[in-house]
Assembly symmetry: C2
Homo-oligomer: 270 residues x 2
């Protein structure tokens, strides 16, 4: 059985983009985990993308897979895209190349070089391409979109856009299970509005289907695995089937920052 | 400053090869760490390679970098290639796609499907290419070469070949520092013989230089960092500057087998 994979950054303009990523002078280590390197994207770079998604920043699983949105947030987003009939023709980039340390910093986010580099990616993915809809996950991503939309290229492009709640906002903003449930319900209502705004614009879905909205909580099929064809060649299947296999372990904050501990899930291998 | 990277497997015949790698039925989990996935190569896949190296199997750093020979063995090999004037035009593959668990098994190594898949790689890298010399690191690699050399493609190709001692054989075969020093001296004598056999065949070095043989122990410059252009895009620089940043941690053999613990070296990041 063939094992599909993502070919990565061999083609221009992406080969040049990934050679020219900004370093610590643009992403200060006090706000970003620059020591784990930049993580650029997930999805189609061959011009076939119909939907562009802007996320926020990569987390720890992403540091190993070297693709963004490969954990729980990614699986929820995958379900959202599937409701639009988009199962392959998507491309995802983040607001920030590096993982945010602590809370995302509004001032750091405004660094002109940070914005300019991201805009080069957005130019490459949007100008003269087939993209029919853009989704921003959360406020920083929405600001990233606005920054690009105000450039000359952005002003001349007309594309459907929706700013939706970040997929793991319920867990990151709520302390109790009841609060998470409440925030999840609000997120799903917000996502339903996003689906209704975007669905008419997605004229070339991979798998056309009637629009089925979310209920008050996650249902079967709302969270779907990250496709193997989004991962670099040869990564083991447990890395895309689920997350939870990587964590930052350590006795204190600094030790945790320097560590990634990977554990193969039980039932795999010998 | 541009950060070069290895573009990987986007081009044929390698795109097809990395989609069709053998699984547990060919590499039994009792002998191979199949749970970490296959690791295919390091170096040039664009036809520019002048030297082909066959190694044995990937270790733990390789599971993260997803390229072979990126640790101490790789740095020693890099120095050997530099003595031949080869600083970029090389390609490295292993005898085994997966990391060996315990001791390499002669019987498992003879699996016809295992050999046939490896021979497809050797066909792709040797038939009709510019390779002028082949190096086998250790006995299993030498057997892998013999298996290919006896195929019709192998029989019709005439290329310089040397079987040399595996770069970390001194450490893996010796218990005391004195024994390591003795084994290192023997390895370097063996490598000098290999250099003398191969140097005349390497007609198109990247950086021509008079052949300088090894002394009785490692000297300055004999072990050189893995070039950034051999690594996938965006990997942090400490991953190619040195090894020692990954280890298999755990209370017992099974726990160690399931674990990889990565620690950013001191002095990097915040």
């Amino acid at each position: 059985m063939p094992r599909p994979f993502d070919p990565g950054y061999g083609e221009e303009p992406f080969a040049t983009l990934v050679r020219e990523y900004p370093l610590e002078d643009v992403y200060p280590p006090s706000h970003f985990r620059v020591e784990w390197g930049p993580i650029f994207h997930r999805g189609r770079l061959d011009g076939s993308a119909r939907v562009l998604v802007i996320g926020q920043d990569p987390a720890h699983h992403e540091s190993i897979v070297r693709r963004i949105l490969v954990g729980e947030a990614g699986r929820r987003l995958q379900g959202f895209l599937a409701k639009l009939g988009i199962t392959r023709s998507y491309v995802l980039v983040n607001t920030f190349l590096y993982s945010v340390y602590g809370t995302a910093d509004r001032q750091a986010a405004k660094n002109p070089q940070l914005v300019a580099y991201r805009n080069r990616w957005l130019d490459a993915l949007l100008v003269g391409t087939r993209v029919e809809a853009v989704i921003a996950l959360g406020t920083f991503a929405s600001d990233a979109w606005s920054a690009w939309a105000s450039t000359p290229s952005g002003q001349s492009l007309h594309v459907a856009f929706a700013h939706v709640t970040h997929p793991t906002q319920p867990e990151s903003s709520s302390k109790s299970p009841a609060k998470v449930a409440e925030a999840t319900k609000a997120l799903l209502q917000n996502w339903n509005a996003g689906l209704q705004a975007l669905a008419p614009a997605v004229a070339h879905p991979d798998a056309p289907r009637p629009l089925a909205l979310y209920g008050d909580t996650w249902a079967d099929g709302d969270r779907t695995p990250i496709p193997e064809f989004d991962f670099p060649a040869g990564l083991p299947s447990w890395m895309h089937a689920n997350d939870g296999w990587a964590r930052r372990a350590g006795a204190d904050e600094l030790a945790k920052r320097r560590n990634l501990t990977i554990t193969v899930p039980k039932g795999i291998g010998a």
